[in-house]
């Protein structure tokens, strides 16, 4: 049990550090998953099987995956500046945290040393036996002694849901045009009646973030999806088009003359 503790404890702390120091959000999330899995192992090794499994299922399985999905959909990149602007802040932070750590650890150590002989990791064996199993024991606490706290956590969950709603959702001010209306609108304008050009397909870029080129070689900005344009993640092809164009003209002097005249 002691060996398991030292392996998992070190790993989980390492996971914590990894989470904090990773530059990419996705990496952080994965490091966090490492921490959680190790915690789960620790729980199980102390005969808290239910908790260990819940830890894996809920945190590692559901919560962390949700994190990852969100990160990928929102597309958070590492563009946040990590340069510390407050002079001496990092040093002071490290010093303060170390001071707290040393202080608290010293206190804990002093206390446990005086009790050193009495401290034997007992796990939950005894408790589980008393209550007729781990799950039963937890159930008894959760629905007995702590039932009120347990019920009140629902308030927390409702608040969280409500908060997410408030911060993200809003009712529409205008009516959303339906599909029929949209197509009518499109057909009414000769310029768009045949549909918008599809994004470009090139040798080097084969993606929706690259604009199409019209037959005369000009760039069709309206071929790009609106969302990407707003976010500013489209590919700028002007330079490449210009280079290609120059090469074409060089290989075909006749056309170059036409262009000049």
């Amino acid at each position: 049990m002691i060996a398991v503790f030292w392996v998992c404890a070190v790993l989980s702390v390492a996971g914590g550090f990894g989470m904090v120091f990773s530059r990419k959000a996705v990496h952080s999330a994965l490091w966090l998953a490492l921490t959680m899995i190790n915690l789960a192992v620790l729980y199980v090794s102390q005969q808290a099987e239910f908790l260990g499994i819940v830890q894996v299922v809920v945190y590692t399985g559901a919560v962390m995956m949700l994190f990852l999905f969100v990160l990928m959909i929102v597309g958070v990149d590492s563009s946040d500046s990590l340069v510390e602007t407050i002079r001496g802040h990092r040093l002071a932070s490290v010093a303060a945290v170390l001071a707290l750590l040393v202080l608290v650890l010293t206190m804990i150590n002093q206390a446990t040393q005086s009790l050193a002989l009495n401290i034997v990791p007992t796990g939950l064996e005894g408790a589980n036996a008393d209550e007729g199993g781990n799950v039963q024991g937890i159930a008894k606490l959760l629905f007995g002694r702590y039932v009120f706290a347990f019920e009140v956590t629902s308030a927390l969950l409702i608040t969280a849901a409500l908060g997410a709603m408030v911060l993200a959702h809003r009712d529409r001010l205008t009516r959303v045009p339906g599909q029929e209306e949209l197509s009518r609108e499109r057909l009414a304008d000769p310029a768009t009646a045949a549909g918008l050009p599809a994004p470009g397909v090139y040798a080097r870029h084969n993606a929706v973030d690259t604009p199409a080129l019209l037959p005369d070689g000009s760039i069709a900005e309206n071929s790009l999806p609106g969302a990407l344009v707003l976010r500013g993640t489209t590919h700028d092809v002007r330079e490449e088009v210009a280079v290609t164009r120059a090469a074409e003209l060089a290989s075909d002097p006749k056309q170059a003359q036409e262009e000049q005249s």
Binding site: A111, Y146, A155
Partner: protein
Amino acid sequence: MGVQLPFPTPQIEYSLLLPVLVILGAAVVSVLIEAVAAESLRRTLQPLLAFGSLAIALAGCVGLWDQRQVVAQGALVVDGPTVILQGTLLILAVLGALLMMESRVDPAGDPFAARASTIPGSADERGFGARRQTEVWPLFLFAVGGMLMFPAANDLLTAFIALEVFSLPLYLLTGMARRRRLLSQEAALKYFVLGAFSSAVFLFGSALIYAATGSLDFAGIADAVSADPTSGLLLSAGVALLLAGMLFKVGAAPFHQWSPDVYQGAPTALTAFMSAATKVAAFGALLRVMFVALGGAAWDWQPAVAVIAGLSMLVGAITAVVQSDIKRVLAYSSVAHAGFILTGVLAASPKGLSGSLVYLVAYGFVTLAAFGLLTVVRSPAGEATDVQQWAGLAKKSPVTASVFSLLLLTMAGLPLTSGFTAKFAAWSAAWGGWQTGVVVIGAVSSTIAAAFYLRIIVSMWFSEGDDAVVVALPGLGTRTVVGVGVASAVVFGVAPQLLLGLVDGVGVFLR
């Protein structure tokens, strides 16, 4: 396979839990109303529900007057201090709700953003105009429910959940100001991040205390503390972190830095409620933890609390001197007040308990009224909170200036105001022994504090004003809030016996 043991049905004393249950139940109903009712209906239904439930809860609270019992399987305690604190919280909540409803002072609408999700400054935001986000009501009710639970909680786990239940809605509401929304959102985020940090510290402390005493129950901790002195250091480590977590909520220095930013950024109506009620709830819980669970270890924690009390009083008073924004001045003064109340906690005696309770009640109403009054002084850009904008206010509205002067003088602790009663009650408990030094620091900082209160008063009466600043005529709600604050300041000052007797009569914490 385990053996099937009979599971005793948990006993919940519903009648004794009435205030908490009514408010939390109303909050859930309120969420349902959000889901099904039309916006126009919600605008009337939600406040009705809120005021109705608050009234019922208050009545229930009065009914608990002489109940002394541990309830809900030991999760909560109903005793004298609980009733006083819950009653105060409910009245403060009613007043806070009145401020939240105020829509006359600001031509743009009520204090909250029409839709918190719109991007500040966008066409979308303008499109919603003066409409209201009625979701503030369920959030408000959840916050009130959590606050009612916090000072009644009888174990660290329930305390932690109560703490989260009232904190989370407050984080959200902070970010929902109608005006100066970026400032508001920034404040909310800061509050949230730092609040989460302090919650983690609180949990860490609870874990260490559990390790030291083998119990999360306050009574169990108290037994272990008196029975087993060898676990002292482990306990001390736990107490240190627990204190750090709780002192964040009461806004004591050096855990106070969020409060000026948050008080300034949050919608003023909410700031008013938050500054008064959070302090009442958090101090109530702090008192219970320190007196019931850790009363046997008072020698251990008194020096730490003394240091924090002294720091809070000095930092609060000194920093307020150079502030130019009245909301920030009030925020720093609330830091100093946290220190003054901690002086009562420091006494670790029944007298200290009643002194702190008196202070909380007196301070709560006055500070709520002071923030409430801030909303009526307006410039075209919204509330005029710069001290310079308040210059010459006495010429524009002598009533506003007089009332605000009175409230400030009360906070300064002028005799014959409730502020004096409060300071007297808290300090006389701590006077004597080595705590005397802390009281002297208190006297020095209240002298400094008087300087900045007076500075505002002087500029209101003795300076030339800015014509762009006007005093809006508030609705009945705000007037009630201010009236109650002024009345409490005068009545509890002139006849402090009313308050002192009330608090002395309820006795001490039940173990």
